[in-house]
Symmetry: C2
Subunit: 401 residues, 2 copies
């Protein structure tokens, strides 16, 4: 887990000028979350400085200041934090021990290292939430075939196995049909697996919150997330669930945020099962399930994150339309030889012709399955919003013309 | 009017990366209009390149690519346009002959030079609109005291005098109480004045449109603009006028846009007088009266401008709330000695505590009377929106605490 130095530049790049009175927020990562945070930072006159692997990353291309370097290199993180009011995260790939070292340096980390670990280590999150009385799926830490078999004996095959650290967008999640699958996986992941039963899930929900160091907390309406290939493809706001379930989800997420002392934006992913809500995973940062807030809510998750980490008053999370749908735009699975249709930027004109479609492109080079953008539609009713958002996303993916 | 070279850098600065498939829009000017265009460009994956006098200008600090140079220098304009899909404007200070030269070079100018002149030369606009049958205030081109006196004899004192070119935000507009005032002004402006009577105005309106080269055109609801010291301070959407007046204003603006072949965003400023609507001035670019569209409409004027100049389908101009108010934030008239309260960035925390206040800061150094930002509030009724937006703006100006 210890970082190795990579190509680095001593100076901070980009965004020159003398915004002396502006706050500087440093963010580890320069992907689409940082890119959309940059848009919010512009409005607030906040300077965003990101840690990027290269100058082509989404947030750097959008004009954030940048330090080039590796999030596993503590010196890069120190350089990033230098002179910034606060250091925050757009991904989970900073070694936890580096976060603790930065705290010892006196860096204002939002979220703090202990809270961040709930997003970085799924096993830690499960154990701690379970210990503190939050409902989580049955689980075990399985380091051997015997431990997997023992869990399967109690819960039956298939099992879901997850890498405790480092997975995202469906990577790091596997379905184990039987003992042979477990063997192969344990060879690759000698530190062991988080195993859980294949739950019968009515739907998956996500609750977005923002919380400040002062304890001020706002909670958005729960949304429904639709997965395909273990990757979130569609978000429906508000979730089509009973008012009682929605209220329970908000209450659970709010209590959880306070319990773990989360600061900044927090996304709580929940399973709705026939025996109630279960906490699946946490993200202590802006989250894919919250992109709909840009057009769909009084305050976007990106502005909210900046307000929360800077200790500024939080904005209203009010939903602005009866139905808001976000559909992710992914790189085409099978790349046509040298076809411009593989790149959403080449299909933008057609997508903008879909009434009500708000298109966001991340400026990333297309690769199969890579999140390249998203489309949000706000509407008076769900079916219209779904239809328009899916059509625009399909056009951007080159699946329609 | 011919440009002189200033400090220039041969290379385009900022926003590195390889967004090969992205469209590049070049914009003359790097003020707050370009800054907010940069926010919209990020979402669409468009690369914005601006012409700036220095690296501290609002759009450059927000991460737009930049060419440093002078808009009166044709070579700077050529460098700016190099490789861009289209060249557009965030101000009126490009010499008209340079726009014609760029057109002869084959640069795709949106708006075209002939249309841009309606925003650059008030006398040209009055003459041409009058000749083409659009209602404008009575006016004359007065190059001598005798011509001023002759116009006053027909219309009475006081008169309003305007510099045909170069004025903005109340600069370039004077009230002439009598012949002595005219003498002084004509000495300073030997090319003459645009003079008009002091009209009895019920209110001032602005109609925002976007129009593409193809002729596609969308028109926003008319808004009411409230001036103080000849500078726009507040914008109320929709304008509180009869439906008939609003429809007439939209019809007039739409016809005018087609008549002058405007492309991109166009703002038509109108006087509502007891004898009907009169066209005051035109702006062939995003406009202060349209900032409310960022939160208040389905498509912001900045995204709309990009769509229009790139020939992409236009977005819906739908107003999203019964009342949307924008209040400008100006630099304090009397600067406290070395007080942070003169800088809105130091007052941001308090302003964000006003429920519903959407704050936009432009990253400009404070100077008396300078536009430093704006606040928009969307609400169910006008008084609540006005109250909240005025309060947040007053806090940012250091007038409340």
């Amino acid at each position: 887990m210890t970082g190795t130095a990579t190509t680095r530049r001593p100076a901070v790049l980009g965004a020159p000028g003398a915004e002396g009175a502006s706050a500087t927020v440093a963010m580890v990562g320069a992907g689409q979350l940082a890119r959309m945070t940059q848009q919010a930072a512009i409005a607030l006159g906040v300077r965003l400085r990101v840690l990027a692997a290269g100058p082509g990353e989404p947030a750097v291309a959008a004009g954030a200041q940048c330090v080039l370097g590796d999030p596993a290199d503590l010196e890069c993180l120190r350089e990033l934090a230098q002179g910034a009011e606060v250091l925050t995260l757009d991904h989970e790939r900073v070694p936890p021990e580096h976060l603790h070292a930065l705290e010892r340096d006196g860096v204002a980390l939002e979220p703090c290292a202990a809270a961040a670990l709930f997003g970085q280590d799924k096993l830690h999150a499960r154990r701690e939430l379970s210990r503190r009385g939050f409902p989580v799926p049955e689980f075990a830490h399985a380091r051997s075939r015997e431990e997997v078999a023992s869990f399967a004996a109690a819960h039956g095959w298939p099992l879901i196995a997850k890498a405790p650290r480092g997975g995202y967008d469906g990577r790091g999640v596997w379905t184990l049909a039987g003992p042979a699958d477990a063997h192969e996986l344990l060879t690759a992941l000698p530190d062991g697996l988080l195993v859980e039963p294949e739950l019968r899930i009515e739907c998956e929900l996500a609750v977005l919150l923002a919380r400040s160091r002062s304890g001020e907390c706002v909670c958005y309406e729960p949304v429904q997330t639709l997965q395909r290939d273990a990757m979130c493809r569609e978000i429906i706001a508000p979730a089509r669930v009973d008012a009682r379930v929605a209220a329970d989800a908000r209450e659970l997420a709010t209590a959880l945020a306070a319990e773990i002392d989360a600061t900044g934006v927090l996304a709580v992913e929940l399973f709705l099962t026939d025996s109630g809500l279960r906490v699946n995973e946490l993200a202590l940062r802006p989250h894919n399930s919250g992109h709909y807030t840009i057009e769909g809510c009084a305050t976007s998750q990106f502005e909210q994150h900046l307000r929360a980490v800077l200790g500024w008053p939080l904005g209203a999370p009010t939903l602005l339309a009866p139905a808001v749908v976000t559909v992710n735009v992914l790189g085409a699975a099978a790349q046509p030889a040298v076809s411009s249709r593989a790149d959403p930027r080449s299909c933008l004109r057609r997508a903008l012709g879909v009434p009500g479609a708000h298109v966001h492109l991340y400026g990333k080079e297309p690769r199969p399955g890579r999140k390249l953008g998203h489309v949000t539609v706000c509407a008076g009713e769900l079916q219209g919003a779904l239809h328009a958002a899916r059509l625009a996303a399909a056009l951007l993916e080159g699946r329609e013309s």
